[in-house]
Symmetry: C2
Subunit: 411 residues, 2 copies
């Protein structure tokens, strides 16, 4: 009898988005003329930059003739792209990175979900709370969670609360952990860490022989020069950290799919006998066995992000989204709401008013302003009492949403 | 201390194709003027069909304006593609398949490697021998193999030998197994199963409550009208089978990356308590948690394969490759080699001459004819004494390779 991986039974239904859909649908039925504005899901709305479009067309043409046609590429990505990543994303910031430490992939989602495969099932996982649900669910599926307790927490995970009280800057775990998921700029809180704060984590990981899985998908939104763009700007990080990056939020690739994961040659994990093994070679083995690379066409499109024109276009796009963030942040502050994030991140994290929980605020915003956001409690227990809005909407819609919140919300 | 998934230590050597690459590189260094012809890796050489190129350009243009731009798509694929698959690949052959039973992905390699995640670690895996190494390695990594014994077999796998002696048609397992990997038309042997032979497997799986993971990536190469194109042509298969298909070998997508996996609603596996669970819902959960879908542009390109023009172009391409197969098959037979496959599959499976093993024949072919093939032993112990050539080369190179084998090989 083919038995199921019973760890799947520990997964909690994706209550968050189905519940949002259910409430939005019910509202639409009751108010068929209401014009909803969605600032909930973190999906971009601006088209691909012209430099990328041009490169995609050129690559499609290459696929049309036998002379320039490309079949299987290197599973971990073409050198032409990995080298550009190493040079522009790392070299330019004084971080030395070799092209074969850069693994091109179809998404930070896939990579953050799959990387845990390299580790033993009994590793202890630490997660910030609130958190991007993929880190949680992929480790539940892999059997590292145990069951969920009555507080909505899995018994074997170590939760690191991030709230206004600690400035969304989590304390180090109070016990040993093996794998630490960090995401900065943070989804959903929009918080960032300074070099010193990040160094604390690198030092902890070195001391504990732990591995930091560092999601930097939103690094392009950093404005403050004091905030590190990469964990590898921190001394010693190459031994203990893996970094995930993506073209999704940088260059509008959410539907075009290209990302990369950086695994330094020094990064290690350990056999039961204590012997160290390089994660670079293990990830190479994983990817070459289970993945066949990103489409050539798409990799050519991604490489165009690093041309002079591409860089200027991408900067313009991000600047526009960050202007949305400012509009939302200041608009909400002007009606007395307590607002976090949105300065170095495309996410605005709102404290719900006294006596209103995350779902209560969702309903209030939906009913009074016809604006859809995401209840903070959907990202974990410590997200209760918060609410996420995103800067990825169209400008006119973002402005109208804020105007409605200012004029129609009963606070 | 972050411990490694020690199942990785059970993986043997480097992946077959990397070892070939290593030997070819060394040969190239020693003989810089030799003109190598590669008939080894199953990679296509013909450009994408014009209908696909046209659709790709159109989709790139859609991504250039905000009105038609596509962000995140459905993780399991756009309906416009899944519906075409259901209609053309199944409906047209009398097999009823719903669009939500078709999961669009980036490759049959990813899907055949990942699908095992849904099953318990103690499931017994049956594999034909020789076999596509991805089925083996993904189950080794997942901890289902045990260690390799002195015969080159993992102690916990059940091997189903396929050799000239049994006509490359494996016998049913002599004991209970839970997961059965079958690939027809077969990679590497080029063998096919008739309806009756395939029905034997479906009946066995129903009786044992096992699951058949059926890789039909090469179905487009079937010429014999008696050979089923899909396992779902067999009665009862919807309860016990998953089918993997790909645009790679059908439409030249090896570097463009699009495939699909069919998981019927009736397909089941079991909890420890014996309760049945649908694999369709489990695979949906897996894919929506760990994957973000295939690029919109690429899915539009794949959909063009189903247009009238696309179908005609694809048929022409496959016809050309099958003519290569005939040329190789007849050329090798003319020098007295014993040749299998190549009639309903793009693979030609050659018995190596008396006293020469698979790697010996690899080196011989490389050194004497400057032709690169694939040693049969790389596909498993029962592949020893065989050698794989593929029909995916350019016509002129295929003809020259055969001519060199005829004139330069010391047999």
């Amino acid at each position: 009898m083919a038995h199921i991986n019973e760890s799947y039974f520990n997964l909690k239904g994706s209550y968050l988005f189905s519940e949002i859909a259910r409430r939005v649908k019910a509202f639409g039925k009751a108010h068929p003329d209401a014009k909803l504005i969605r600032l909930g899901i973190g999906d971009v709305t601006k088209p691909l930059p012209p430099a990328v479009i041009e490169a995609l067309h050129a690559a499609v043409d290459e696929m049309a003739s036998a002379e320039s046609f490309k079949g299987y590429g290197p599973e971990t990505g073409y050198e032409f792209l990995a080298e550009k990543v190493a040079e522009h994303d790392y070299g330019s910031r004084g971080v030395k990175m070799a092209a074969d430490e850069v693994f091109i992939s179809d998404g930070a989602k896939s990579d953050t979900a799959n990387f845990q495969e390299l580790f033993a099932q009994d590793c202890t996982v630490a997660l910030t709370d609130p958190v991007y649900p993929v880190y949680v669910d992929s480790n539940v599926m892999a059997g590292r969670s145990g069951e969920m307790n009555e507080n909505g927490r899995y018994e074997r995970f170590v939760y690191l609360p991030c709230t206004a009280e600690n400035g969304f800057n989590p304390a180090l775990p109070d016990r040993h952990v093996d794998l630490i998921y960090l995401c900065y700029p943070n989804n959903p809180t929009g918080a960032v860490l300074t070099r010193d704060e990040l160094k604390k984590w690198v030092d902890y990981a070195r001391e504990q022989k732990a591995v930091i899985l560092y999601d930097a998908a939103y690094e392009a939104y950093i404005r403050d020069p004091e905030v590190p763009h990469s964990i590898f700007e921190i001394e010693g990080a190459r031994e203990v950290a893996i970094e995930f990056r993506s073209f999704s939020k940088t260059a509008g690739f959410t539907g075009t799919r290209c990302a990369f994961t950086v695994v330094p040659k020094e990064a290690q994990a350990y056999g039961r006998n204590g012997e160290a093994h390089g994660l670079n070679a293990l990830w190479f083995r994983r990817q070459s066995t289970k993945f066949n690379g990103v489409p050539y066409i798409i990799q050519k499109g991604a490489a165009a992000v690093y041309t002079e024109a591409g860089q200027a276009q991408v900067r313009g796009m991000i600047g526009d989204y960050m202007e949305n963030a400012r509009i939302i942040r200041e608009g909400l502050e002007s009606v007395g709401l307590n607002v976090f994030g949105g300065r170095n991140a495309p996410y605005i994290w709102v404290k719900t008013p006294e006596g209103i929980d995350s779902w209560g605020f969702f309903d209030k915003l939906l009913n009074e302003a016809h604006v859809v956001g995401t209840p903070g409690s959907g990202f974990g227990p410590s997200g209760e009492g918060y609410f996420r809005l995103t800067a990825f909407g169209r400008r006119d819609q973002t402005e109208e949403a804020v105007e409605r919140i200012r004029t129609r919300l009963n606070l």
